[in-house]
Symmetry: C2
Subunit: 435 residues, 2 copies
Amino acid sequence: MSSSNPPVRVAVLGCGTVGSEVVKLLQSSAADLASRVGAPLELVGVAVKDLTEIGPDMGLAADLVTTDALSLATRADVVVELMGGIEPARSAMLAAVASGASVVTANKALLGSHGPELYDAARRAGVEVYYEAAVGGAIPIVRPIRESLAGDTITRILGIVNGTTNYVLDRMTLEGLDFDTVVRQAQELGYAEADPTADIEGYDAASKAAILASLAFHTRISAADVYREGITKITAADVAAARATGHVIKLLAIVERLGSEGVIARVHPALVAENHPLASVHGAFNAIYVHAEAAGELMFYGRGAGGRPTASAVVGDLVTVARHRVAGGRGPGESTYLALPALPAGAAATRFQLRLLVKDQPGVLAGVSRVFAAHGVSIETVRQTAGDGANGVELATLTVVTHKAPERALRRVAAALRAEPTVAAVAGVIRVEGE
Amino acid sequence: MSSSNPPVRVAVLGCGTVGSEVVKLLQSSAADLASRVGAPLELVGVAVKDLTEIGPDMGLAADLVTTDALSLATRADVVVELMGGIEPARSAMLAAVASGASVVTANKALLGSHGPELYDAARRAGVEVYYEAAVGGAIPIVRPIRESLAGDTITRILGIVNGTTNYVLDRMTLEGLDFDTVVRQAQELGYAEADPTADIEGYDAASKAAILASLAFHTRISAADVYREGITKITAADVAAARATGHVIKLLAIVERLGSEGVIARVHPALVAENHPLASVHGAFNAIYVHAEAAGELMFYGRGAGGRPTASAVVGDLVTVARHRVAGGRGPGESTYLALPALPAGAAATRFQLRLLVKDQPGVLAGVSRVFAAHGVSIETVRQTAGDGANGVELATLTVVTHKAPERALRRVAAALRAEPTVAAVAGVIRVEGE
């Protein structure tokens, strides 16, 4: 079959960490890929920012390399976009689609903000947009949600979808280090960017949450709809307090469906019980935990970043899209038939852990309990640790875990606690997820 | 889209635990499924062994229920086969395919032994065979291997693919119970069949190993090619010895590719280090750990059995196959382009743990070490436990873990150890996997 069909022309836009690995896979696995597609994949060009990016070790003929991504995007059957960022990636993908090419991309920032524009353009042009690599790197998650679970109703997804923050929190947990130290070391080791804002403030995870929510709930959720809270305020004391109650702190992307009311998408640090499968996701690994009505709980685990793992997912999509060119057919496109509204994060009822510094004297617990009760928030556990007499004041720590409560009720509790004369500080308020 | 296309006719063969849940999903999710398929799914019949199987609570019109599976199989666009076993499932699926219907099945025993006959018939008829539910129940694994990883080279899969044996080993590990006690309790609780042979002797896992190997390595491996060893010989002492060295015992299905030489597929109990992700797969859960050259390590986790979880996977396949009927296209079919031979399990080099009862006297370790060295097997760790003086003889236990060695070398070591005058018994020889 592979010899009788004309080649499928492939353009690769961007030749950084991922792009160069995609080019290498196309070269080293050419025979296998041709057998799986039913036709050879012919690399017709690689777009770079600067011609010096491509070393002679890539084995690319000089005439395949160009700095004109927009023009290259119109000369292929499938365009693989790995430039990242919004522009010129957006214009190049729209040009590709307009010229009749299908697109494979790993660009979560673009899909999280401008996805619908691209999906609509692709639908009008009768071409496909595939993006397995945009969430979870090498982990198959887009296809399982869209196709394997197409007979089920997904109710909730909890994901560790950002490797940098998981690495940082994991080292804080395992070694008791503070946030700044670990981030600085992560930067030295190349696990964190020089400007780590997109990772540690949760922007990257929010884009991925938007993509997951849109897929899982057949609606349109953009990154702007996602409540976002980063990990910069997490202290070594928070991590230690979490461990003391049998938890670890993870930055989670959580998307959930409240029946026909709508969808809540949020990214924030959360306590996860040590025996939950997500608690054992260490270092830069990612994992996505899916709840579906019939399937129950599923987890998908693997490398969430890196050149070769991400290239695996990109080339997997490329094989599918190229097969459709050769053999006909189309994958299920974006679907918005449920059209569920995005709800504010405050609509989610979650458990909370609060760490209170209180005067070490009788009756404090009774007073604190009354505050929770007055706002309708039920307490699950309280753990009291004696103070160390620092600063000449005897302060004890109360670690309170609530039953599920709406965020607004919790905010009122925190404000009321701060006004209590026996409460010196409300030191840490963090959600508890994944029961 | 859903209203303008004619319905896709669906026949369900078998209405037991899984079949009845499939029928319920078709009823309760009809609107969602129609939106995802692009046309309504119309249930044209349910085949049962005995008409009394269907209670009035199923809400099925009497004329939809039949005992004639073969005839029903020729009156649909998609036939869902959930009868299990070889006949009449095989004849019904061949009849369906011959009549132009696509097939969705969860029948691992049939696919493991007669898969190629069915795939070839489907190819000739231009129809599809989908079987996500045949391995790992609700866990998406067939589609990820076949499609998501189509750009990569899979080298090895380690799977916990049988829930009954995982439940038994898990309870032996967590509670220190012996094999017979746990199996008897599992039968009482419905986690094990009255005749548990297919599970505990590894036949069920061997069928799944054959399916995984065929998919991952683009070749044909049948259940008869799979080396198979069950868990009946695992004792409470084996489990305790495993724990003492930081391991748990799991029944693993392992398929691996030795370059272009061939494929080894095997099912046997193995020690897995406690910090390996597979070690935390408890109870009746399943997990499949995949190594691919570019993606690295991936794990897929979820419910491996049960009516609703399995139905989720079945209806997911049904949506895909029905979509192809409505919108055109076909998924990637079986592929055998690599045509790799099946190699004997002895060709695999693995680490082994041996538990030796030895005389508690000086010089024993030196003698034992000499035996390993004489057969070219290198020792990684030795752990010695003093004897308890039972039976009037002072016996100590030596727990030896080897570096990777071929099985035949290990057999010679075991035979030579039995001939050593200082060795009273070679009490447990078990592979160590998942480093």
